[in-house]
Amino acid sequence: MVSLRVYILTRVLLTIPMVFILLSLVFFVMRILPGDPVIAIVGMKASPEHIERLRHELGLDKPLWRQYIDYIAMIMRGDLGRSMIWGKRPVSTEIWDRFPATLELTICAFTVSVLIGLVTGVFASTKPGTKADVGLRLFSIVAYSLFIPLLGMLLQFTLGVKLKLLPVAGRKSPLVQIDRITGLYLLDSLLTLNLVGFVDALRYLLLPSITLGVVLSGVYTRLVRSSMLEVLREDFIRALRARGIPEGQILLRHALKNAFIPVLTMMGLQFSLLLAGAILTETTFSWPGMGTFLLERIEYRDYTTVQGTIVFYALLVAMVSLIVDIIYAYIDPRIRY
């Protein structure tokens, strides 16, 4: 247990240089890119005097090294700064406004992908070489190579426009109000006992979650299948079968648990990828999350917002991977840190 604590501490400490390097990279890359943020902000009609004044206000007239030191000092104080466009709102407020939407979509899509992956993977591993196995392996390849907007639009058109079963875009119906507590609509509506809000938010979540979930499930199908096949060949499984333990119990209680380690690694990686990779899904479904937001702000060269968001993501990814590592230790007692 002591070694685990030391491990966690080391990992946390290592996060600091990682964030620092990443931040420095983003800081300089944003400034190397052509495009003046002030001109992008004020558009084409502003006078040169107005542009100069804004540049001064934003500190962009200072030497680059000075801007860098100022920014690092600000980050050290725990301040992500203010956006450079539209009212110059604090970056933390911008993130707080949008991150819950991405997190909610990520969790739901993640659940969908893991569920599909587990069910199909376990099923395929029990019938290796059969038509069902080949079919599922084919599904995993097709799913993974699907283009998110294409699948999204297909689902929007069939389930939304033609059958009118599910809403096609947005996070909730305009007539439904959900009071914000955490920003996660499903949770907020439950906390406020707003059933209409819950059902509504769930309906809006379904299409984007399924789209993103299906595309990412292919990886899990293959991984669970191969991992399960390996475990099912081991001696202890044969011993369990010899003892007459029901097959279902062997599969779920013994084989799956052992086959889970590589799946868990993939889950950790995928979760981080999902957070960043939801951009296409968010655009297709007009989901007001971080992906589209970050893209928009890069286009406007909103330096502080882009840098702040990257810092936030870096910390988040570091945290998720640390949690995954800790979970390993609990699932597999052989793992020692």
């Binding site: 992008a40 939304g160 947005g170 996070r171 439904v176 007009s286």
Partner: protein, 523 residues
């Protein structure tokens, strides 16, 4: 066994009870939703930037502000006549230098503050103090604002301005309450608004904006109690939301092909109106060979506008032959008069030959565009221009692109040879379509592509000329000179489209361009 069964029965019974309670609660909560006829949901791909008149300077935020606040004058629907709004009457003194506004009495903001001359003075001075993007509407014109009495305010200008009434109608001049807005800083998420037909009940950035009819509004009562704006990321999502029944009205901006498709669908109505939005080609006179008038004229003559308006935009825009849009007073088809409807290849070839070019010694030009800012059709627009110019056999066009912020920076700092730009007016007056482009002191934002003392003089005269007839004559001269010198070639005028459900009525689209939500209703 009996225990097992009773356990199952108990679980099932508990589940049934829970489902029943949840079901009843759901039905009860769902019944509280407002009647469908009282709500209109409008979808858009635009966004709200700063809900503060001192900072807002974009099409859609101005539209929202125009529905939750009002200025001293407002445009009568379907005309370009300004009628009194918060100002009951006005008087112009000292040849257009002093504007005295008499306010309506007894008007109150949502926070209970009364509209007085003091509030007006505070609001206008606040814009100047904050120096946001639209502050030039005040700083470039106003010398001082004085309170004459409780309901009379005097605006003294730096010099007479013939079109100041139109400037006073822009949202930057909308009075707001000092109790609800900070005096020295932008309040980007402020939902207080001013005095208008609606007020904001709820605003969730990039998600929705809920407007309710203002019960204390002095003017025409809104026909629909609740207007909800839903924000979409792209035109496809907007179209699908309309077809899926989630919105009643699809506003800016659907793709041209979507508009054509939806027009065929019997469930929807397409409302079309002439917009004052224009697109144009800038030929930078500081760069060779565009300092040669013959070259500029040749390019103007060889432009095939129909290839763009019909080929790229499928007829959803109109060809334009002047910087002043069609439908606005003083507009003349100056380029058509000079070069014909176009493309006039014979004339273009003649001009190019005079400039020393031939089929073996071609005029080589770089045409720049920006891929996303003006919509997904922009690459096709550039390709259509290239094709029409190259049809002369004497021009070779190389197309280049840069994303918006780079494009702007290159235009301003480096100066690009040929660029494509678009313009939404700030105020509805021909001055706003000519002065910023053609006056030497004003076109720095385009990289100063053109400077001509005679043109400057005409524009300055037109700004202060007291009567419309004189101004019309001067602007006609300006447009003819523009066609002659051809530093800028206008090529299209946007039409505005709203696609709505069949039962939605009252949508007015005119050159003012901003939707008036208070006129829209469901049958």
């Amino acid at each position: 066994m009996r225990r097992g069964i009773s356990k199952v029965v108990a679980v099932v019974a508990a589940l049934v009870i829970i489902v029943a309670i949840v079901g009843i609660a759901y039905v009860y909560q769902a019944r509280k939703a407002p009647a469908e006829k009282e709500v209109i949901v409008i979808g858009t791909t635009d966004r709200v930037t700063d809900l503060d008149p001192a900072s807002a300077y974009d099409f859609f935020t101005w539209e929202v502000l125009s529905n939750i606040a009002e200025g001293f004058f407002k445009y009568e629907p379907m005309t370009l006549e300004l009628k009194p709004a918060l100002a009951e009457s006005y008087e112009v003194q000292e040849g257009g230098k002093v504007w005295v506004l008499k306010l309506r009495k007894g008007l109150k903001f949502r926070d209970g503050t009364e509209l007085t001359a003091e509030v007006v003075k505070w609001s206008i001075e606040r814009v100047a103090r904050i120096e946001g993007d639209p502050a030039w509407f005040v700083l470039d014109f106003v010398d001082k604002v004085e309170v004459v009495d409780k309901y009379t305010v005097k605006i003294v200008l730096q010099q007479p301005v013939a079109f100041f009434k139109a400037v006073l109608a822009v949202p930057t001049y909308f009075p707001i309450s000092p109790k609800s807005y900070p005096a020295d800083e932008i309040s980007p998420d402020n939902t207080a608004g001013g005095i208008g037909p609606y007020y904001i009940e709820r605003f969730v950035r990039d998600v929705e904006l809920v407007l309710k009819a203002n019960p204390n509004y002095y003017g025409e009562k809104p026909r629909t109690k609740t207007i909800i704006i839903k924000f979409y990321k792209d035109a496809t999502a907007l179209r699908l939301a309309l077809e899926g029944g989630e919105i009643d009205v699809a506003w800016r901006t659907l793709n041209p092909s979507d508009i054509k498709d939806l027009a065929k669908n019997p469930d929807f109505t397409v409302v079309e109106g002439q917009g004052a939005y224009i697109r144009y080609i800038v030929l930078n006179g500081n760069i060779e060979p565009f300092n040669n008038k013959l070259v500029r004229q040749a390019l103007a003559a060889a432009l095939d506008r129909k290839k763009i308006t019909e080929g790229v935009f499928l007829g959803t825009v109109s060809p334009l032959y002047s910087l002043v849009p069609a439908g606005m007073w003083s507009h003349i088809d100056a380029f058509k008069e000079k070069y014909g409807e176009g493309p006039n290849y014979e004339l273009a070839k003649k001009l190019l030959a005079q400039a020393g070019y031939s089929e073996t010694n071609k005029l080589k030009v770089e045409l720049w565009y920006t891929p996303a800012h003006y919509g997904t059709t922009e690459a096709d627009v550039a390709a259509a221009i290239k094709e029409s110019w190259e049809k002369t056999g004497m021009i070779e066009v190389e197309i280049k692109s840069a994303e918006w912020s780079t494009y702007l920076e290159l235009t301003r700092k480096k100066g690009l040879p040929i660029t494509l730009y678009g313009w939404y007016p700030d105020y509805i007056d021909p001055d706003n379509f000519l002065y910023p482009f053609l006056h030497t002191d004003s076109n720095r934002w385009l990289g100063k592509p053109y400077s001509d003392p005679e043109m400057d003089k005409l524009l300055e005269e037109a700004q202060v000329a007291p009567d419309k007839a004189t101004r019309t004559r001067l602007y006609e001269q300006v447009q003819r000179k523009l066609a002659e010198d051809a530093p800028i070639i206008p090529f299209l005028q946007g039409k505005l489209y709203v696609v709505c459900k069949k039962n939605v009525k009252g949508i007015v689209i005119d050159p003012y361009m901003l939707l008036r939500y208070w006129l829209i209703y469901k049958e």
